[in-house]
């Protein structure tokens, strides 16, 4: 069964590029260039995974997630951006995206990332791993919920390797654990990222809504 993908990006050229590159491996069921088009398009096309540009006129990727999530909780989002701003990326992740990659990613890696998202795992690019390490770095003044507000040593190690540019497979090899275990750690981090009440994360999310 092939993965059904919907592409949301305000750049026409980028959409057609992704369509052409991913079309060989995955089934592209539609694309959209605005938030409204995206919301209606996703409702009718019922994709498995949505490739979502973080920066778009009319509320950005976050608005799309907010609108779709309530109606179609089974649709998974992979954020795609050239943005370097941590608050944008963390904001989209906290809204519900299961991964974040930069647009410089190769077509092959992008296809692999889409599959991983479809399988229910999280996709952490080096940059996202760096953001998370940054946000969870240092000691929280008072972790409200230690299970959510702190990373374990192992999670930290995994994120460090990802930030250094290691693939999941290489991380597994380095730490002498299974690739599946790496994915478990990453998913756990994603959950913390989305649910944690850490001050920094909350602030980022809040800032994002204010923009």
């Amino acid at each position: 069964m092939s993965v059904r993908v919907f592409v949301v990006d305000d750049h026409e050229i980028f959409r057609s590029g992704v369509r052409w590159e991913l079309g060989r491996d995955l089934e592209i069921v539609g694309d959209a260039g605005t938030v409204e088009d995206a919301v209606t398009g996703i409702a009718s096309a019922e994709p498995d995974v949505v490739l979502l540009d973080v920066h778009m006129p009319g509320g950005g990727g976050r608005a799309v997630i907010d609108a779709v999530h309530g109606e179609q909780p089974e649709v998974r989002f992979l954020a795609l951006s050239v943005s370097d701003a941590a608050e944008d990326v963390i904001g989209v992740i906290r809204a519900g995206a299961r991964g974040y990659v930069t647009k410089s990613i190769s077509a092959h890696e992008l296809a692999a990332a889409v599959r991983r998202i479809h399988d229910g795992d999280a996709v952490f690019s080096p940059r996202l791993a760096g953001f998370v390490l940054d946000a969870f770095g240092g000691d929280a003044p008072q972790p409200l919920d230690p299970d959510l507000d702190l990373l374990t040593t192992r999670e930290r190690e995994v994120l460090r390797y990802i930030a250094r540019g290691y693939t999941y497979k290489e991380v597994a090899h380095q730490l002498h654990i299974a690739v599946k275990t790496v994915e478990t750690h990453v998913s756990a981090v994603l959950r913390k990222l989305q649910l944690s009440n850490r001050y920094e994360l909350t602030r980022w999310a809040t800032d994002r809504r204010l923009v």
């Binding site: 760096g130 250094r164 290691y166």
Partner: protein, 423 residues
């Protein structure tokens, strides 16, 4: 006492000249041996033997020293020539004066033992002079012997003879001294024995200790010099050599001019002590700027991730430069266009990782004239108390490629450990 070397006409039998190439003290014995055509060792033994006969040998030696001229420079074969410079003479004189001083001291403190003591003292003095001259010669030359003076003294041809003669003379002096003083008061005897032993040991070891001290100073100086040199080499490699490489590859004269101009500005700023434009920049911005610059110049894509941030200091600037060099290497030699740079600021240290999934290489097979890794990365971090290691697996693809890991203790930690901060 030194005479100017003059070119003497060749004779069938060499005239009596003090030898330049074959000398222990002043080349007298060597000259005599050359003149007579016999082994210099025989002459030396004769001199020493005659010296025991009421000092006759010594007197003859000193007379010949005064009267005979030094042989001309070009008479000595190039390989055997070993000039003893002026310090040797001074040191001999100094040695004699030291012994004379000790004698005077003994005299004033009531330990003067009469005429009979003159010979042992003189023997010790000559022995000291021989050893002193020896180490003086070593010390005045290159300091390649490191801090092992014993080895240094013994390293050269003929030094065993000197060592043996010097030590024998000193020991003989001590023996005569002790033998002649058995009649002294019992109380003084013990003191005397201790003093003589200490004095003898000082005479034997003094030059070595002195020499060791001087070597330490010299070694430190040369280390400072070589550090400055390495710093300069690293900088030139990163700047001028890189630019020259770029100029060779650049197509248009306009590009060349712009490269040359940029480089000139940079070099001028560095040479005349103006700090580069990095002052006031923080680590994150500096890493991003470095990545951006290499992305533009090398047409690669660099994923630069920085966790935490801090003010730049000289050590971090070195880390930044080493990191830039590693990134540039990855851009040029890995064969891939995606490079990951990860920098993390922790409370105790700052770490940087430059990773590519490229062709990799064997770090041991890199030739010595490629200064990039040795100077710009490893050497540079060493000088700031940090470290760098390179892991590379040839082959490429997943699992392969190269990673350069750079670690630097934070400033406070470095200062606590006494690592210098100067750039």
């Amino acid at each position: 006492m030194r005479t100017m070397a003059t070119v003497a006409p060749r004779m069938t039998r060499p005239s009596l000249r003090r030898s330049r190439s074959n000398r222990v003290i002043a080349g007298v014995a060597g000259g005599v041996a050359q003149h007579l055509g016999i082994d210099p060792l025989v002459v030396r033994v004769a001199f020493v033997g005659l010296t025991f006969a009421a000092g006759f040998g010594l007197v003859v030696y000193l007379l010949l020293w005064l009267l005979a001229r030094v042989e001309p420079v070009d008479a000595a074969p190039e390989t055997a020539r070993r000039r003893l410079p002026r310090p040797t003479m001074r040191q001999v004189l100094g040695g004699i004066l030291v012994v004379a001083g000790i004698g005077l001291l003994l005299w004033f403190t009531g330990f003067w033992f009469g005429e009979i003591m003159a010979w042992p003292v003189m023997l010790a003095a000559i022995g000291f002079a021989v050893l002193w001259a020896r180490s003086g010669e070593e010390g005045s030359g290159r300091s390649i012997f490191g801090s092992r003076p014993l080895e240094a003294v013994l390293a050269t041809r003929g030094s065993w003879t000197r060592l043996a003669i010097g030590a024998a003379l000193i020991l003989a002096g001590m023996a005569v001294f002790l033998a002649a003083n058995t009649s002294l008061a019992a109380a003084g005897n013990m003191l005397l024995a201790v003093f003589v032993t200490l004095g003898g040991a000082a005479l034997l070891a003094g030059p070595w200790i002195w020499r060791m001290g001087r070597e330490l100073v010299e070694e430190r100086n040369s280390r400072i010099r070589s550090e400055a040199h390495a710093e300069m080499a690293a900088h030139l490699h990163d700047s001028v050599l890189q630019t020259l490489a770029l100029i060779q590859r650049s197509g248009t004269p306009r590009e060349m001019v712009s490269l040359a101009r940029t480089q000139e500005r940079d070099l001028r700023a560095w040479l005349y002590g103006r700090a580069p434009a990095l002052t006031g920049m923080r680590l994150r911005d500096a890493i991003d700027a470095m990545a951006g610059k290499i992305e533009r110049s090398e047409q690669v894509s660099i994923e630069a991730v920085v966790v935490g941030d801090t003010e730049l200091d000289p050590g971090l600037r070195a880390l930044l430069a080493a990191c830039g060099e590693a990134t540039l290497n990855a851009a040029r030699h890995s064969g891939v266009t995606d490079i990951s740079v990860y920098v993390e600021v922790e409370p105790e240290r700052v770490s940087a990782f430059v990773r590519d999934h490229g062709s990799g290489f064997d770090p041991a097979a890199v030739s010595d004239d490629r200064r990039g890794i040795a100077d710009s990365i490893i050497g540079r971090m060493d000088r700031y108390g940090g470290s760098a290691e390179i892991t590379s697996r040839p082959g490429g693809g997943p699992g392969g490629g190269t990673e350069v890991a750079i670690h630097l203790p934070r400033r406070a930690v470095r200062e606590a450990a006494g690592v210098k901060q100067a750039s």
